[in-house]
């Protein structure tokens, strides 16, 4: 069985010793110092720091060892299967990392003269055209730093569009399905909309009747991922688009699940007006433990004028790429500069590596892998596939362990934790909200059949364990760096320790063995 490193590594503030250092700055030239004098005299008394910040003091090797040990207590895609649903944890190609480390990108300042950044502008421009082609949209803005940032921008563009048409005061409602990612309602609220939730029907797709009942002159738009979070294609999408458009609203595509449909169908062709793309999912860039990501949005021709500035553009006459600040109705800025360019560069490399056929094949195999899992996991005791049995899934599938829970007391979270013992990352748990005891599984195209089979075997084994010795599963994991953590303690006002200084001031978190 799997064994993760257990270093019992101390918090860095407890390491090192006074006077040590991990990096020495170049010293200031003597004559410069002589000319300028002491820096302390230059500072206004009111803001001089009397004591340096209480940072740890470590030698270079100590820093390296500390963080290397920490890294060994962290599971990544490079170590094995990572079937987190809706997160598209595919392989992150090494060549892309190498290219993103080149000085031609790492040492480029965003305010450099256009003549000195033609290469990177060309990459950004071309990538935006490719993304427009893949999503079937007119123009792509590369600026959002993450999917949720793209959603916020999309929702703000909806708002700007209705304002432009003079009916922003009435159009205050944004519709989201009950199966939506949590970011959808959160982004809508940030953009000033009231959220109207529409239920899913018994097939797990959007309930058209309920949708029709929800739209009105107050409708600003609908946010809908397709395939949805159950991995089902919203086959009524054309009618849905029609309902929203007739009501005067806009249709927004949450791109978290784009991987399933590349080259097979396009959001723009389905009638979506605004589309976001999770570069760090579909286009293979590493998640880095939570970021940086990148969440460009594509929009229809009608909405182009609302995009933030600047857009990367190409002047054919001069054969020059440039930053275009000329957008009549731009919503302004959503961040500094032009986007997470180092992430976008990796996506550019990925698309080149794949080509159009490769991307379509990635979509197809991600769907093949998901349906293979549906087939192999069906029949495992305590595991059920809710909604639309017999209908193909797309890139992901959602199983419920409701009956296992009823029979044995073992919950989805317990199954997830036990999987860790088998050296497999767990699926997403308790999502979508319309499935009880949910395990949301997205294998992606990067995983070989043997690993899928290993996952199936592990779940079979865990089911057996649940029915024969439920406590074994309930107390998992055993082989990770730590056993199950008390997450409630971390969030309770009486015990919370959100920083080292908070911990020291309160001194509440203590372990028996340390």
């Amino acid at each position: 069985m799997y064994r993760q490193a257990q270093w019992n590594e101390k918090v860095i503030f407890e390491l090192g010793g006074k006077g040590r250092r991990g990096y020495a700055l170049p010293s200031v030239e003597d004559d410069v110092l002589k000319l300028v004098g002491s820096p302390a005299d230059k500072l206004p008394k009111a803001v001089v720091r009397s004591q340096p910040p209480r940072l740890p003091a470590l030698s270079e090797a100590e820093v390296v060892r500390h963080f290397t040990r920490l890294s060994q207590m962290n599971y990544g895609v490079d170590m094995g299967f990572y079937p987190l649903g809706s997160c598209t944890m595919k392989y992150n190609p090494k060549i892309n990392e190498e290219l993103a480390g080149a000085v031609g990108i790492t040492e480029l300042h965003p305010n450099q003269d256009e003549s000195t950044v033609q290469g990177i502008l060309e990459i950004m421009y071309t990538l935006s055209r490719w993304l427009a082609e893949i999503t079937g949209t007119h123009e792509v803005c590369l600026q959002p730093s993450a999917g949720a940032h793209g959603e916020l921008l999309g929702a703000l563009i909806m708002r700007a569009y209705h304002k432009f048409n003079g009916d922003a005061e009435e159009r205050t409602e944004l519709i989201v399905p009950d199966s939506a990612h949590g970011t959808n309602p959160a982004s809508g609220t940030m953009a000033g909309f009231k959220i109207v939730v529409v239920p899913s029907n018994q097939n797990g797709t959007l309930d058209l009747k309920a949708l029709k009942a929800s739209v009105s002159g107050n409708t600003a738009g609908l946010m809908l991922t397709n395939p949805n979070t159950l991995g089902l294609f919203e086959e009524d999408i054309a009618e849905i688009a029609d309902i929203i458009h007739k009501a005067g609203g806009l249709l927004y595509y949450d791109g978290a699940n784009l991987n399933a449909i590349m080259g097979k169908t396009r959001p723009g062709d389905m009638g979506y007006d605004i589309v976001h793309i999770n570069i760090h999912k579909t286009f293979s860039t590493p998640h880095g433990g939570g970021g940086p990501g990148s969440g460009p949005i594509g929009v229809s021709k009608e909405l182009e004028k609302f995009l933030p500035v600047p857009q990367v553009a190409y002047d054919k006459k001069r054969d020059r790429f440039y930053l275009d600040y000329d957008k009549a109705e731009s919503i302004g800025k959503i961040r500094s500069f032009y986007g997470n360019v180092a992430v976008l560069l990796r996506a550019y490399a990925y698309i080149l590596s794949m080509g159009s056929e490769g991307l379509e094949e990635a979509a197809q195999i991600s769907v093949l892998n998901a349906n293979y899992l549906v087939r192999k996991l069906s029949g495992i005791r305590g595991l059920e596939l809710p909604y639309a049995k017999g209908r193909p899934r797309k890139h992901e599938c959602v199983f419920s362990v409701k009956s296992m829970h009823k029979d044995t007391g073992v919950r989805a979270m317990d199954v997830a934790k036990r999987l860790l013992d088998y050296g497999l990352h767990s699926p997403t748990t308790y999502f979508p909200l319309i499935v009880d005891e949910a395990l949301m599984i997205e294998p992606t195209e990067s995983v070989e059949k043997e690993e899928l089979d290993r996952f199936v075997e592990a779940l079979k084994k865990i089911s057996e364990e649940a029915y024969s010795n439920p406590n074994l599963v309930k107390n998992a994991p055993y082989n990770a760096s730590v056993t199950r953590l008390d997450e409630a303690k971390a969030s309770h006002p009486k015990t919370m320790a959100l920083s080292w200084r908070m911990h020291q001031n309160r001194n509440i978190i203590k372990a028996a063995s340390s």
């Binding site: 006077g19 170049p26 940072l55 990392e97 080149a102 086959e235 860790l420 730590v482 920083s499 978190i509």
Partner: protein, 468 residues
């Protein structure tokens, strides 16, 4: 790439494997898995993208494109203004490129993600030490969006309708703030500055702050590089009217400048890029976000926060995400923010960087920057017609350089410097601040040697001698 090959990234593309899996599912073609996509919506042509390239071809193609860029390595660059050139010690990249960190997702399963969680906890803790705050989150996208979120947080706390910011603020940051709070129908006012010193005009600030003010925001060092010394006074003006006091920082200054927590800040935001992250043409950046430790503030914080805990058995210390009930995946439309994916790996880079420098190193960094900046201003002032800085205040790493008396435009001087002398001068701010005339914002850090600065001075002098 030869067509017959199975793509290296897609193992189950091997025809036999594919067939075996299709047999298992009970289908004859993969297209049967797409039958629920209505016919009229099926994409029937090929995507208009280039043919797939082999790794070698991709590498050659992209390297050729990147070679068309002129990096700060080849062209001495004196640009700052929100993204700064600092030296990144080799250890930083070697740690953040470790694939255990690089290829992991958000630590939703804390037991096998202790490494990332502890590293982020350490990052948060170090940011708290720098800023004098009790709690920091594990990152925002950048300074600008962090500022937008900070003002939104203030409004959640006091439900007020107006905010006051300094007149001297980066245009991107101001525009982002506007975008973030536009849906709240907030009103932003700018407090004027003292023309002599650049410092915030306290009278102007006072006039604008009232019971309607949700927050007063100041920056230290200011966008134009001088050190804002009237921090206590500004905090008092805010607090007198019950407004929050929010401070924006460049963290490389916090080895020498007072922690904002020591002069009354309730929330601190800033840009973490200079702590071990590279320029990358302006992204990714790293938004700093920290606040005081009162529960009512903590509950309204945006973003992920990592906390310390123990195992359920109580035998070991561990780390996990805390206060997730504020976040979108639990609270949905009532979440404090929609942010989930953030800049975690950049935060780890900053933790490694700060650990390498340590308390003395960070202080030396600040001192070294101040001395070099001072030296650069001294040198440039020797050039006829050049005046730097415009403001009679101490400066940190950026400073205004005015060219009014040279009779030339800042932009044209910039072009000559670049074209003729291969030096990238500062950013022209004549459009942002027309009242400052032909002025550029220059930046000097510890990465600029005395030689770089002397070369700038000589080239600038020569450039100004040329024809108008």
């Amino acid at each position: 790439m030869p067509k017959a090959h199975v793509h290296p990234y897609i193992p189950n593309s091997v025809p036999e494997t594919k067939q075996e899996m299709m047999n298992e599912i009970g289908i004859k073609t993969i297209d049967e898995l797409y039958t629920d996509v209505p016919k009229q919506l099926r994409f029937t042509r090929k995507l208009n993208l280039p043919e797939a390239m082999s790794e070698q071809e991709v590498s050659r193609h992209i390297e050729a494109l990147l070679c068309r860029n002129k990096s700060a390595r080849e062209t001495p660059t004196f640009l700052g203004a929100g993204c700064w050139h600092h030296y990144v010690p080799a250890v930083v990249d070697s740690i953040v490129q470790r694939s255990e960190f690089l290829t992991s997702y958000t630590p939703y399963q804390p037991e096998i993600s202790q490494g990332m969680l502890q590293a982020l906890f350490e990052y948060q803790s170090m940011i708290c030490e720098l800023t004098g705050m009790d709690v920091a989150n594990s990152s925002m996208y950048d300074w600008s969006s962090a500022l937008g979120e900070a003002i939104r947080m203030a409004v959640r706390l006091n439900n007020r309708t107006q905010v006051v910011v300094p007149r001297i603020i980066h245009a991107d940051r101001y525009a982002t703030l506007q975008t973030y709070i536009e849906p709240l129908k907030m009103h932003i006012e700018k407090a004027d500055y003292n023309r002599e010193t650049g410092l915030i005009n306290l009278e102007s600030l006072k006039e604008r702050v009232s019971e309607k003010t949700a927050a007063v925001y100041i920056e230290n060092p200011s966008y134009l590089g001088f050190i804002e010394s009237q921090v206590k006074e500004s905090a008092e003006i805010a607090h007198d009217k019950g407004a929050l006091f929010i401070v924006g920082v460049d963290p490389t200054s916090l080895g020498v400048l007072k922690a904002p927590g020591d002069y009354g800040a309730d929330i601190v935001v800033g840009e973490g890029q200079p702590l071990g992250n590279r320029l990358n043409f302006g992204g990714p950046l790293l938004g700093l976000f920290a606040c005081r430790g009162e529960m009512e503030l903590i509950r309204q914080m945006p973003g992920r926060v990592i906390g310390m805990t123990t195992t359920l058995k109580g035998d070991k210390i561990g780390f996990c995400m805390a206060l997730q009930t504020r976040e979108q995946h639990i609270r949905r439309e009532r979440a404090t923010s929609n942010i989930c994916t953030n800049e975690a790996l950049c935060a780890v880079a900053s933790a490694v960087y700060l650990a390498l420098l340590g308390p003395e190193g960070l202080k030396e960094l600040g001192e070294s920057i101040i001395i070099r900046t001072q030296y650069a201003m001294h040198k440039l002032n020797l050039i006829k017609g050049v005046k730097t800085p415009l403001f009679q205040s101490p400066h940190f790493k950026e400073f205004t350089v005015n060219f009014d008396k040279t009779g030339k435009k800042a932009q044209s001087i910039h072009r000559t410097l670049l074209k003729k002398y291969g030096i990238h001068g500062g950013k022209s701010i004549s459009k942002e601040f027309p009242e400052l005339g032909q002025t550029a914002l220059y930046c000097v850090t510890e990465a600029h040697s005395r030689h770089d600065i002397d070369q700038l001075m000589q080239s600038l002098r020569a450039a100004l001698k040329g024809k108008r």
